[in-house]
Symmetry: C2
Subunit: 214 residues, 2 copies
């Protein structure tokens, strides 16, 4: 059964390459799972049809037969059950993958996204700076001891963590964390990531062309 | 096999009742899963033994036989697989529970915890205020249509969301969101929550007494 990944038809240039459908594209590419892209008009994202699919008016959402899911983290864990290339089959490996997916979402991104958001208005001091650097220091200590977060191999936890860390402003802040930098370079060098990134950029470029034509 | 929930031996008064081991206590109480509490000295939380268990120096962690897990969200999803009182057995119900657990962690708490943290220093304006209220408005719209987040019944997603929302400062901000308020009252009225809260308060009160004795 072909999976359907929902994203916007178009977004303004700044978030292109970072819209979170890329996490699902990347997972499907890693696992060789066939998928198609479906879109909601950016201007209709707070309309009832999209809110029924994603109650916070965000993307992505995933359709897998009669299962519909929102939240990129939930979609990744769902996809991971379909392929051992995303998550090991043994209980210990699954537990490690799960804890590091949640650590990405709730220990790193819970600080890095609000830090990034506050930084958009260029305040003289970012009140989340100290908290962010303490989290990055802990993560750096972990990655100084191993190449992957979970189960001694690439998993969907690395895919998620790398996508969290590659946000340009955050990536610039990683200069003090050599183990994270080496890790990020290693994970982003995967062909499945590079294809997903290009596919997302192409998707929005095509939308520009269509909108220009009217 | 008895589960082990790791928490601190003692914490200063302000976070008592909100240390995240309560999420795991509550889940075990709901499911009737036997568990014991193990502790790390609060002063030793950044030591190597605890960092091996929880690389961000936080609690809780969970031991289930030879499986060890950190991150309360990961521990909840792990426990949920052990009891249908926490998560339905069918694929659709599991997907709904999963997406709402992740929504709690990454769409609500990703805003509410940094908002709370910034509020501790009482700035004239909280830069996350607008983002928080937009998330609460979306959640209120969902809860105006149903009693539980997932699968038309209580799940671990409600347990998590209620624990996120009951933080005192956030709870005070819920006055504009009647559906969330009614939901929170309903979920927190569960005997398993009330027992877990009392158990955590007793745990730290006992630690006070032991420390006073020296």
């Amino acid at each position: 059964m072909t999976l359907t990944i929902w994203t916007y038809d178009w977004v303004p240039p700044p978030p292109r390459g970072h819209v979170r459908d890329i996490r699902l594209r990347w997972a499907c590419e890693e696992a060789g799972l066939p998928y198609r892209i479906a879109t909601v008009r950016f201007e209709d994202r707070t309309g009832p049809d999209h809110l029924a699919r994603q109650p916070f008016a965000q993307v992505p959402a995933l359709q897998d037969g009669d299962i519909q899911l929102f939240e990129s983290g939930a979609c990744l864990l769902h996809l991971a059950k379909r392929s051992e290339s995303l998550m090991p089959g043994d209980a210990k490996g699954r537990a490690e993958t799960l804890e590091w997916v949640i650590a990405g979402l709730n220990s790193v991104e819970m600080v890095s996204v609000p830090w990034w958001f506050i930084g958009l208005s260029s305040p003289p001091e970012n009140p989340l700076e100290g908290w962010l650097t303490s989290r990055l220091a802990r993560l750096d200590a972990v990655l100084a001891t191993r190449d992957y977060l979970a189960a001694n191999r690439f998993t969907v936890a690395d895919l998620l963590m790398a996508d969290i860390l590659r946000v340009p402003k955050l990536r610039a802040a990683l200069i003090d964390y050599p183990a994270i930098q080496a890790y990020l370079t290693r994970i982003l060098d995967r062909p499945a990531f590079r294809k997903s990134l290009q596919d997302q950029l192409d998707h929005f470029a095509t939308a520009d062309a269509a909108r220009a034509k009217g």
